[in-house]
């Protein structure tokens, strides 16, 4: 059995058949996971100024760029093991750098609150064993965490849910779009207008207090009735909800307080994004957006977006992430105007604009370690095939030495 790194469900029941050091067949992984484990078609090669070189020269050039930088930034590590993340944090400390990851424009705002115990939360195993009412909110698990419903939340039989989805569980979707998850929730899909989540929550709170909700009264009272009767409920908060209420996140806290039998579970995409947030939280007390300067300073200006907008960083090391692909177009010119050092197993849009590229092993495939599942459980990753690539952990160590 090996672990899949396709998403933060970290399915650890995968069987692989390896032949000639290549994965020939993958059992139990979903389409997304299988694609991830088969790997990319174009591996990265070490380059300086887009000219191929050896890995040693790449590392030395990267170190030189960082030495010459007044405000270096380290970004990424969501697709790295916890061990590499620890090394990454040490590296950022050593260079007095800014450190941020994808979570600052993704689920970080939610995970921060979960780690600070602003919400009740639980494990995915609790959900399998106990949950009777499941709310997928702004989350299309079927496409983003494809085995969520089958492994943990809706379909399986659990200790207290012996009749499975047929009788013992109810799935509800609240979304702007009729997603694949919403399709499974059939009679319990509540469609909301874009940015309508806050109003929906406020109306739902009213309904839970027994007041007449101002919004879609009949359906809202029906939903409040279902939630009140839940013995063990879960709200799976997707990025749709997080983005929609990012300016007033406390409404979700208020809703959670009104639902004592419910747990809040962040739906995470990148396999070890929660790991990054937890490792950072342990080391610095913050989940992301930090600048080291003897101590860790947390500020919005150290988020990747504001670092680019406010020109806070003057050189950037990107590890296992592709910001050129995932950031808004208008900030890319700033990213391309500073030296970029790209550490990744594959050619990415970011590697195409990088001054230095350093190829690394694919974690969980070519190197072992641990990662944190979306519910906080630590899961082991295995080395499945041999490779000559350095791990990102080793590259972080080498950079610490070289600067």
């Amino acid at each position: 059995m090996v672990t899949c790194t396709g998403c933060a469900l970290l399915c650890d029941d995968i069987e692989v058949i390896v032949e000639n050091n290549r994965i020939k067949e993958i059992k139990n992984a979903c389409r997304r996971g299988a694609a991830r484990m088969k790997g990319c078609s174009n591996r990265l090669v070490p380059c300086v100024d887009q000219k191929p070189t050896d890995i040693e020269s790449s590392i030395q050039k990267a170190a030189q760029i960082i030495r010459n930088s007044k405000a270096p930034m380290l970004f990424g590590l969501d697709n790295s093991t916890c061990e590499a993340q620890v090394k990454g944090i040490h590296f950022a400390k050593k260079i007095n750098g800014i450190l941020d990851d994808t979570s600052s424009f993704c689920q970080g705002i939610l995970i921060e609150r979960v780690l600070a115990q602003k919400f009740r939360t639980c494990s995915l195993d609790d959900i399998r064993n106990k949950a009777d009412v499941l709310v997928y909110w702004g989350s299309d698990a079927q496409d983003s965490q494809p085995r969520h419903l089958s492994r943990f939340s809706y379909f399986p039989r659990g200790e207290l849910r012996q009749r499975g989805y047929e009788e013992d569980r109810m799935a509800i979707a609240i979304d702007v779009r009729e997603s694949n998850t919403a399709k499974i929730c059939k009679g319990h899909f509540y469609r909301i207008p874009p940015k309508g989540d806050r109003e929906f929550i406020l109306a739902l709170i009213d309904a839970l207090y027994g007041k007449v909700p101002a919004y879609d009264t009949k359906k809202m009272l029906e939903l409040a009735g279902i939630l009140k009767k839940a013995e063990f409920g879960a709200i799976f908060v997707g990025i749709g909800l997080t983005y929609s209420i990012k300016d007033d996140f406390d409404v979700l806290t208020a809703l959670a307080q009104k639902l004592p039998n419910f747990n809040i579970m962040p739906m995470v995409g990148h396999y070890n994004m929660r790991g990054f947030n937890e490792t950072m939280f342990k080391e610095t007390g913050f989940v992301n957006k930090v600048k080291f300067n003897g101590k860790a300073v947390h500020d919005i200006k150290y988020s990747i977006m504001e670092s680019l907008n406010e020109k806070t960083a003057d050189a950037i090391v990107v590890v296992g992430s592709d910001p050129v692909s995932s950031l808004p177009g208008p900030v890319l010119s700033r990213l391309a105007s500073i030296p970029v050092i790209c550490i990744d197993p594959c050619v990415t849009m970011t590697s195409k604009i990088a001054t230095v590229t350093i190829p690394c092993a694919v974690s969980g495939l070519e190197s072992a370690g641990t990662a944190v599942r979306m519910d906080g459980k630590v899961i082991g990753l295995s080395k499945i095939i041999e490779s000559e690539y350095l791990t990102d952990e080793e590259i972080m160590e080498r950079l610490v030495e070289a600067v």
Binding site: A35, E178, G240, K246, E306, D322, V324, L332, M349, K352
Partner: protein, 142 residues
């Protein structure tokens, strides 16, 4: 002499709100080759309700220009298989949709990835390539 009067007539423009989402087939294409045809095909696409498309005179498979203050891209239209509310269009989250997103975050660090206002009109231009997207934002890609 061949006269294409169509090219002098500007296609009518309509306001749309684009919601971005994730798709497993798109995620699969990204994992295997982010520079490949499949990834481009699934990214450079927009879907709308049948009613909206009829109103705009757009058919499935038509190329459309999506533009706002930040970018102007050409993608393919698909009729949504679902019963969508009017005025909303859907794109998979990718460099194509991200090109239309403002870099302004009002000091929050989170851009409006899932809530994009744009104009849509029929277009005869080629579907925007990844290369062209990068060149639009990065003056001298190395």
């Amino acid at each position: 002499m061949d006269m294409d009067f169509g090219k002098f007539l500007k296609s009518p423009e309509y306001d749309i709100k684009i919601i971005t989402y994730r798709d497993i087939f798109h995620a699969e294409a990204l994992e295997s080759d982010r520079f490949g045809e499949e990834y481009k095909k699934l990214s450079a696409a927009i879907s709308m309700s049948k009613t909206d498309m009829q109103k705009m005179g757009i058919k499935s498979g038509d190329r459309v220009k999506i533009s706002n203050n930040f970018a102007s891209i050409v993608v393919q239209t698909n009729e949504s298989k679902r019963d969508e509310p009017g005025g909303l269009a859907f794109m998979v989250n990718s460099p194509w949709s991200n090109s239309l997103v403002s870099g302004e975050t009002r000091g929050k660090g989170i851009p409006e990835f899932k809530n994009i206002d744009a104009k849509i009109s029929l277009s005869k231009e080629e579907i925007t390539t990844l290369d062209k997207l990068m060149k639009a934002f990065i003056k001298n890609p190395i």
